[in-house]
């Protein structure tokens, strides 16, 4: 019989060996040696922490109780692994590009870096994992006690408790030593990973050895073993469909969601390519682990006494047959399973607890930011170590309180259901951009509550939290609220029942709340980055340094990492860059290295934020972006206002230029007019003077001559008077001193009058009118209106240069106005003169008719007095004027 002392000795040697391996691996990684540390095989083996002591020992027990059903626990992970292209590939890519440190970090990052969500996930993970740690302690204790029984120096329950205590303490020490020694390696723990890879080999080898011993040693061959299975109580494949499918799905979900699985699968992943190997190697590993389970169970059931615990067949079969060496190997296998699980779970949970609970509280309590206060590194380390110790201690406490036994054995699956609640938020976050924080929180809360109520609390039996009465009759006596038959779903297996309801309700609430609520900008940004990670990832964003102050970086790093480590790091980087002294150039490489170093101490997000604060950010937060966008919008608005102003000024300048041009032209016109008017005035005056002198000085003029001369004098005087009249008229009109005489009349009559007064009723000048359209009544000063018409018509007669001149007069009514167009078929008025024709003294070219250039100016003034307008109508193949008159001038004036 193997003595307990030998066992303890072997155990100690094994533990020391593990320490040595972990230490060597850490050293090799530190010195950059050991590419084998990063081989895909090591990665695959580290995934085997899925196979805990519960599966190492418990699978055989499971098989002994219910046959092949145990295999579902391995089938789920197998399907997830061979379906790596769907999910795991994306998770690993996101984990690497977003510097994810834990599953809580992943979920909180996806939903806008929400810390409340991270805290919730952390708490749920701790609740789900603690019983599992207790389970590992129990299995180690139980296996110890088996040896103690056979050794006949059994110490009873008290020694069991002390075994559990020592195991727990040892595990805590190992985890703290290797899990927190290299805070700066981007959350990767080479020593630990190497140790658990080794343990994976040991447990597989142990189980296979026991299996080979059972099949060929005890049964005597494959055929005999098969016969033995057929003869055993588990010869029939009797599983219910719901349990088979439900447990497979549950184990698949747990494989993705378990914090420790996330730790080895995503956080410790060195290279995405490793997944490719793991995608077939890990299913093969699982297959090998479960290969001999049924034979061991069948043989154990036959050979061991009926009261033997089937959970320990792996250990008791070799012991009973006197194979002490094999028994010790088997014990080491179970021990390896238990310890590797506890170590990784403690690391994963402590990362979550310290990053999402302890550090925020500490930062909040110490006030302000980490930049000003003390040594963050020591706090981070301390928080991590205390969390590890606390979590392992919690597991031990749970083991003590629950007292071990069957209640604990059932907790494995219950724990799975608890962590499976992360699945909807996780998958929704990876594949659905519409998933948001409120939805995730709501779904998680509902799922966790259903799990608590329907599975976790009832597992303790009759307690204060959930009395037996509630379990039997439902909450408040409502039968549809019975924890194990929610909504009347009776007759289901409790696990399947809880999986179904918790995940269904979780998913439903998550989906509906996500649909109905609106995410914050940062959630939408993160959502896009997560869901479309393959379109824009590669690696995490790199720094573009240059603006960074190396000295500031050093000051900050000293606070976080400790002075000597930071200085060593900086000096090393400077040496690497070929710079003497302590301060390296802030190259992107160096900044990335520094961020990796810092992220181990304070978490990736904080490290990133700290560096970006100093560097000034190649990568900026959404808030920064929005601030920038705000500023840009302001600048754009300002510049568009400036632009509008500039345009306005340009318009004004153009107007001014035009006005100036007009003024210049007017001045030229005026000069021309002055010479013209003086000429006009002088010509009649000269004739008047000359003829009056002749009449005065010449004797003996005949009657005829006298008549002729005096009529010349008279005509010239009339011409002078008319000129002066026009000038006077214009001045009166301009000063609004004119008295208007309102009458009602017909437009056609006014035109008749004007045409006859203008003297165009002569052959050689044709007036084209449509009288039917002129029958329009209007109220205005008809005499003044006729004056305008006369002026326009006589202008046409005087200036129309067509060989066969025609004047078209067209009238129409438009709204409250009459429009009369006068269009001749001459050459019209040149464009550059059109602006001037209504000005005083304006005369177009060297006119043959020799008017004073006041006619149109008078017309314009008259029309203004009549509340109408006269404008030049361009583009009519001739000179064209449009006269617009209100139908009722008094109404028009009132409207003004």
């Amino acid at each position: 019989m193997a003595s307990l002392n030998v066992l303890v000795l072997v155990c100690l040697i094994y533990v020391i060996f593990l320490f040595a391996v972990a230490f060597a691996a850490d050293r090799a990684a530190l010195h950059g040696r050991g590419a084998w540390l990063r081989s895909p095989i090591v990665y695959t083996l580290s995934l085997s922490i899925y196979c805990t002591a519960w599966t190492f020992y418990g699978a055989v027990g499971f098989a002994a109780r219910s046959g092949l059903e145990y295999v579902t626990i391995y089938l789920g992970p197998t399907l997830v692994m061979i379906g790596w292209w769907w999910t795991l590939r994306k998770m690993v890519r996101i984990g690497r590009s977003q510097r994810i440190t834990s599953i809580a970090d992943l979920i909180s990052s996806r939903y806008g870096k929400s810390n409340s969500l991270a805290v919730f996930v952390t708490v749920l993970a701790v609740i789900g994992t603690t019983p599992y740690i207790a389970l590992q302690l129990q299995s180690v204790t139980l296996s110890f006690s088996i040896f103690a029984e056979t050794d006949m120096i059994s110490g009873g329950p008290s020694s069991q408790q002390s075994t559990a205590f020592w195991v727990a303490s040892g595990l805590a020490v190992f985890t703290i030593l290797f899990g927190t020694r290299n805070l700066d390696a981007n959350e990767r723990h080479h020593g630990v990973v190497m140790a658990i890879a080794l343990e994976a080999v040991v447990k597989l080898f142990a189980l296979l050895a026991v299996g080979v011993f059972v099949v060929w040693g005890l049964s005597g061959g494959v055929a005999e073993t098969l016969a033995q299975i057929d003869a055993s109580p588990i010869s029939q494949f009797e599983v219910t469909n719901s349990r088979w499918i439900g447990l497979t799905m549950l184990s698949a979900a747990a494989f993705i969601c378990l914090p420790r699985m996330f730790q080895v699968m995503v956080v410790e992943n060195e290279d995405e390519g490793h997944l490719r190997t793991a995608s077939w190697a890990f299913p093969a590993y699982l297959m090998a682990m479960s290969l001999f389970v049924v034979p061991i169970a069948a043989v154990g059931l036959e050979r061991l006494p009926a009261d033997a615990n089937p959970d320990l067949f792996v250990l008791t079969l070799p012991l009973q047959e006197g194979r002490d060496g094999l028994a010790i190997l088997s014990f080491l296998g179970g021990f390896s399973s238990a310890t590797s699980m506890v170590i990784v779970a403690a690391i994963a949970l402590s990362t979550m607890v310290s990053n999402h609970i302890v550090m925020p509280i500490w930062l909040w309590m110490s006030g302000e930011s980490a930049m000003v206060s003390g040594d963050v590194r020591s706090v981070a380390l301390l928080a991590r170590r205390l969390s590890i110790a606390g979590i392992v201690f919690l597991g031990y406490l749970y083991f003590r309180v629950s007292g071990g036994g069957a209640a604990l054995a059932a907790i494995g699956l219950i724990s799975f259901v608890g962590v499976a609640q992360f699945l909807p938020s996780l998958m929704g976050g990876l594949f659905w951009r519409g998933a948001n924080r409120v939805g995730a929180i709501a779904g998680l809360v509902v799922g966790a509550m259903v799990w608590m109520y329907s599975l976790f609390l009832p597992s303790f039996g009759d307690t204060v939290f959930l009395p037996q009465q509630v379990i039997e009759n439902g909450l408040f006596g409502l039968s549809w609220l019975r924890p194990q038959a929610l909504f009347g779903a009776e007759g289901l297996d409790p696990i399947v029942h809880a999986v179904m309801w918790s995940l269904l309700l979780n998913t439903f609430v998550f989906f509906v709340v996500s649909l109905l609520s609106f995410p914050r900008p940062i959630e939408r940004l993160q959502g896009a980055q997560f869901v479309n990670v393959f379109q824009h990832s590669g690696t995490a964003g790199s720094w573009s340094g240059g603006l960074a102050q190396s000295e500031d970086l050093l000051i900050m790093s000293q606070r976080i990492m400790g002075a000597s480590e930071a200085q060593a790091l900086f000096a090393g980087a400077a040496r690497h860059q070929g710079i003497a002294g302590l301060l390296p150039e802030p190259t992107p490489d160096f900044l990335q290295q520094l961020e990796r170093e810092l992220s181990g101490s304070v978490g990736a997000a904080t490290a990133h934020a700290m560096i970006s604060q100093i560097v000034g950010g190649a990568t900026v937060s959404v808030e920064d972006l929005m601030a920038v966008a705000d500023e840009t919008a302001q600048i754009m608005e300002y510049s568009s206002r400036l632009e509008a102003k500039t345009e306005e000024q340009a318009r004004t300048a153009r107007q001014l230029r035009e006005a100036n041009e007009k003024l210049t032209q007017l001045s030229v016109q005026k000069d021309a007019f002055l010479s013209q008017i003086s000429h006009e005035l002088r010509t009649p005056m000269t004739s008047i003077r000359a003829f009056s002198e002749i009449m005065r000085d010449t004797e003996g003029l005949t009657e005829d001559e006298q008549n002729k001369y005096s009529s010349i004098i008279h005509d010239e005087a009339v011409r002078l008077t008319r000129l002066l009249d026009d000038l006077l008229d214009l001045s009166v009109l301009e000063n609004a001193q004119v008295v208007l005489n309102w009458q009602t009349g017909n437009l056609s009559e006014v035109l008749d009058r004007a045409i006859s007064a203008a003297g165009v009723n002569e052959p050689g000048f044709k007036v084209d009118r449509i009288r039917a359209k002129e029958q329009l009544e209007l109220r205005s000063d008809l005499d003044r209106l006729a004056q305008v018409f006369i002026n326009v018509i006589s202008n046409a007669r005087k200036y129309c240069d067509a060989s066969d001149p025609v004047l078209r007069i067209r009238s129409k009514q438009s709204g409250g106005n009459l429009i009369v167009d006068f269009i001749d078929n001459g050459s019209g008025i040149p464009t550059d003169k059109q602006a001037l024709i209504f000005e005083k003294f304006s005369r177009i070219g060297e006119t043959k008719a020799g008017g004073a250039g006041l006619g149109l100016a008078i017309c314009r003034e008259v029309m203004a007095r009549l509340s109408g307008t006269i404008t030049y109508l361009p583009g009519q193949n001739g000179a064209a004027f449009r006269v617009t008159i209100p139908i009722d001038v008094e109404a028009a004036k009132a409207a003004e």
């Binding site: 046959g67 092949l68 295999v71 089938l75 197998t78 399907l79 997830v80 692994m81 061979i82 379906g83 790596w84 292209w85 769907w86 098969l226 299975i229 057929d230 588990i234 010869s235 029939q236 494949f237 009797e238 599983v239 469909n241 088979w244 499918i245 497979t248 995405e272 390519g273 490719r276 190997t277 995608s279 077939w280 190697a281 299913p283 093969a284 297959m287 290969l291 049924v294 393959f534 379109q535």
Partner: protein
Amino acid sequence: MSPKQRRMPVFVERKTYRRRRMADGARMLPILGALLFCMPLLWAVSSPPKTTVTMFYLFLVWIALSVTSAIISRHLHDDDNGSQSDAENGGR
């Protein structure tokens, strides 16, 4: 989808095509596996099958899945650039 991806040629070279079909295979494999693992439930409809028979069946399927997965993942080896848009390019 960026315009850049929309301008991709209709046909891809033979190697890329093969790789994408392998990615399709990698996607389908777990579904196939789930169906095969559920087969024993159908046998159990009339009378429960023997554990040994079911065991042989399950482990053979298991081995076959591992081997198939190994073959597929070998062909997905040098994929890191080409595989990214295969879900978005209409399955070419």
